[in-house]
């Protein structure tokens, strides 16, 4: 280059002349190109800062504006893969100025692994198709996009039109839902305090173990551990001490057992240890003794130590012995009964279930409960209480949940947990449900918006649907006043029936809520199939919300999930302002709990705000 021509200004000519000549030759060059038809736009400068560009053919103007304002990136690409045109959005996605995009190979902006895919939908003669790819932005980040390719014939040149839809937001949402699913699954199968499997997972493991034991003819041991006087630990030391004790006991239990065994926490101070593949019942007793010894050792706490003891019940299932417990329920009942026996003998001891010696008050109890429910049904002994559900943003009562109570012959009020399990087992629950439906529809007919709970037995019964339809028609009731609540567990028991049932209710104009959400095994695939309007967040996640980041993340996940499915959320068990405020912040729509009103007998009319 050093010997190349360097056009230095001719010293003989004044500078103005040199400049003028340069301008003149530029003008001549431009005119030549115009004559040859090679020019596509003229640039005109006036007083405005930006030059004005006039296309010689402006037929494409509307499309240009359209493409420039697209939310997706767009480019035209030559046969050789060179970007001939790119809109501003694409430059934005790539994090570079336009002039660093135009004129470069499109492949240089696509993440290496995606280049063959791009070639497949944009190569010569095979243009057309869609793929997902990573766009390399200037900071070497990869932006996920959906690329759409289509061929474009311009004057016998085959060009390629590419559009790039940004998937960043969608990907973030997918990740959030995956995290939510993982959190809910963990929450549904594990105890939050100790991280141990909960009852749901335990029952699942017992079921599997018993099935394997039946084939392998091995024994299965179940040890029920209940701490003695744990209530006093909580009462004197506070919940923090109680929690520390429970965590320590959980650790000790796990240290005693084999890796194949399961230690679960049923709740409160109740633990269960499942021992698969035992050679004899004696093995289970040995483990129980080791457990007792370990629990007896002083527990070191922040302030001093604590001594606790446990009442331990052992039950064994042996498939070779007739009458041996063969279901999880049965085995749990035996271990439970043995534990109660140990407790009734003063605690701090281990009892082995023995059909002849262990008192099973359970059966006797059940008979009296059946009789009491029967009486209540015959003698109008059931009552509905109403608890207000408020809109968190406004505090207005939008509906009431109806809660069932039984009035005993002596006038005592009995909570549902005392009689519902028996009612379900004895087949009386259907009759109770039908009574509740009639009462609820009577309230709805008077213009009250009410939510009622249906049992698993009734949810999906064609007869129940008929009853609802008949009653609604007979009273000319606004079906929109009725919300049917079904627990997540119920809905999942028979998803097909649940789906048909819910769909039919919604078709009638009623609404549908999934109760105790987060405690069951709801898979998202199933959840999508149910026409649910409300997800009710279980009290389990609400009680300690203000103190528990874990609960907060679960609530956050449920809200995100509901939003994704177009559903609203109702929090249960709200007892203080701080929790209500936090729920509101997290985006929960409605709430119920002692803060807003306890379940109360229905006297006169229910106070509710008008719906907007």
């Amino acid at each position: 280059m050093s010997d190349g021509p360097r056009a230095l200004p001719d010293v003989d000519q004044p500078a103005e002349t040199v400049l003028l000549q340069a301008r003149l030759s530029e003008a001549e060059e431009t005119l030549r190109a115009i004559r040859n038809g090679e020019v596509d736009a003229l640039v005109v400068r006036d007083a405005t800062p930006d030059a004005q560009v006039f296309s010689l053919s402006s037929a494409d103007r509307p499309y240009r504006i359209f493409v420039e304002n697209m939310r997706d990136g767009a480019a035209t690409v030559s046969e050789a893969g060179i970007v001939l045109y790119a809109n501003r959005r694409l430059a934005e996605l790539l994090g570079r100025p336009l002039q660093e995009v135009i004129g470069l190979p499109i492949a240089s902006f696509i993440a290496e692994p995606d280049r063959p895919g791009l070639e497949a939908i944009s190569g010569r003669g095979k243009a057309g198709g869609t793929m997902e790819a990573g766009l390399l932005d200037h900071g070497a980040r990869t932006v996920p996009v959906r690329v759409n390719s289509s061929a474009l014939d311009v004057d016998s040149h085959e060009l390629l039109c590419l559009t790039f839809a940004d998937l960043t937001h969608q990907r973030a949402q997918e990740r959030e839902i995956a995290v939510a699913q993982a959190a809910l699954t963990e929450q549904a199968t594990h105890d939050a305090l100790t991280g141990l499997p909960n009852r749901t997972l335990l029952v699942d493991r017992i079921t599997q173990t018993l099935a394997r034991a039946g084939r392998a003819k091995t024994s299965t041991g179940l040890i029920f551990v209940d701490l003695d006087g744990f209530k006093s630990v909580n009462d004197t030391g506070g919940h923090a001490v109680g929690d520390a004790v429970l965590r320590e006991v959980a650790d000790r239990l796990q240290n005693v057992v084999r890796p194949m065994d399961t230690v679960a926490r049923l709740g409160g101070d109740e633990f269960v240890v499942l021992l698969p593949a035992l050679e004899s019942a004696l093995n289970a007793v040995n483990v129980a003794q080791r457990i007792a010894e370990n629990i007896d050792m002083p527990i070191a706490l922040e302030h001093g130590t604590r001594n606790v003891t446990a009442s331990i019940g052992v039950a064994v299932s042996n498939p070779t012995v007739p009458g041996s417990p063969a279901t999880p329920d049965r085995l749990l009942q035996h271990a439970d009964a043995a534990m109660y026996h140990a407790k009734s003998l003063g605690g701090a001891r281990t009892e082995i279930f023995d059909a002849d010696r262990t008192p099973t008050t359970f059966e006797a109890n059940r008979k009296t409960w059946v009789a009491r429910i029967r009486t209540a049904l015959d003698e109008d002994g059931f009552e509905l209480f109403a608890q207000p559900i408020v809109e968190l943003a406004t505090g207005g009562v939008v509906q009431h949940e109806l809660l069932l109570r039984m009035r005993d012959t002596d006038g005592d009020l009995i909570p549902p947990l005392s009689f519902l399990p028996t009612a379900e087992r004895c087949g009386l629950i259907g009759e109770i449900d039908r009574w509740v439906i009639r009462e609820a529809i009577a309230l709805a007919t008077r213009g009250h918006r009410v939510a009622l709970n249906l049992s698993a037995a009734s949810a999906g019964e064609p007869e129940v649907l008929e009853l609802i339809e008949r009653e609604l028609t007979r009273h000319d009731t606004d079906p929109g006043n009725l919300v049917f609540e079904i627990t997540e567990t119920t809905a999942m028991q028979n998803i097909d029936r649940g789906e048909v049932f819910a769909a039919r209710l919604v078709e009638m104009g009623c609404r549908f809520a999934l109760d105790d959400f987060g405690t069951g095994f709801a898979s998202f695939t199933y959840l999508k199939r149910l026409p649910v309007q409300y997800l009710k967040i279980d009290i389990e996640f609400v009680r300690d919300l203000v103190r528990s980041p874990r609960d907060e993340s679960v609530v956050r996940a449920i809200v995100a999930l509901a939003a994704g499915f177009g559903q609203q959320t109702i929090a249960e068990g709200v007892e203080d302002d701080a929790t209500a405020a936090m729920l509101c912040d997290l985006g929960v729509d409605y709430a119920q709990g002692y803060l807003f009103g306890r379940p109360a007998p229905i006297v006169g009319e229910l106070a509710q705000v008008a719906l907007r």
């Binding site: 060059e29 596509d40 560009v53 060179i82 809109n87 501003r88 002039q99 040149h157």
Partner: protein
């Protein structure tokens, strides 16, 4: 400073000077969207640079429809126009750049061109 050191310094100075002399070509192509002429010009100038100035050029492409402000400071009257910003003197070529020979001459590249 010994004689050898002196010679070395001088040599490196001359080397640096030579590097300055053979500085990369800086070209700007002003286009107007993806019109036929502009598309042709982009494709032609890229092919030309890859063949005659491999690794020794920087090509900026400016779409004046999208960035009319970038026309400021240039004397561009129409698109497509190619401007050679470096090495001096400033030169411009207007049109679709299909006549490679003419473009090379206009840009003073002919002397530096590899045999083709």
């Amino acid at each position: 400073m010994t004689i050898e050191e002196h010679a070395r310094t001088l040599a490196s100075f001359e080397q640096a000077l030579a590097a300055l002399e053979t500085d990369d070509y800086e070209l700007t192509l002003f286009v107007s969207g993806a019109s036929e002429s502009s598309a042709q010009a982009i494709a032609n100038i890229r092919a030309l640079c890859d063949e005659h100035l491999p690794g020794r050029h920087q090509l900026h492409i400016v779409d004046l429809h999208q960035q009319p402000g970038l026309a400021e400071g240039s004397h561009v009257l129409a698109t497509p126009t190619l401007v050679k910003d470096h090495p001096l003197p400033l030169r411009m070529v207007v049109g679709d750049m299909s006549d490679h020979g003419r473009v090379l001459v206009a840009l003073d590249v002919a002397g530096a061109a590899s045999p083709s």
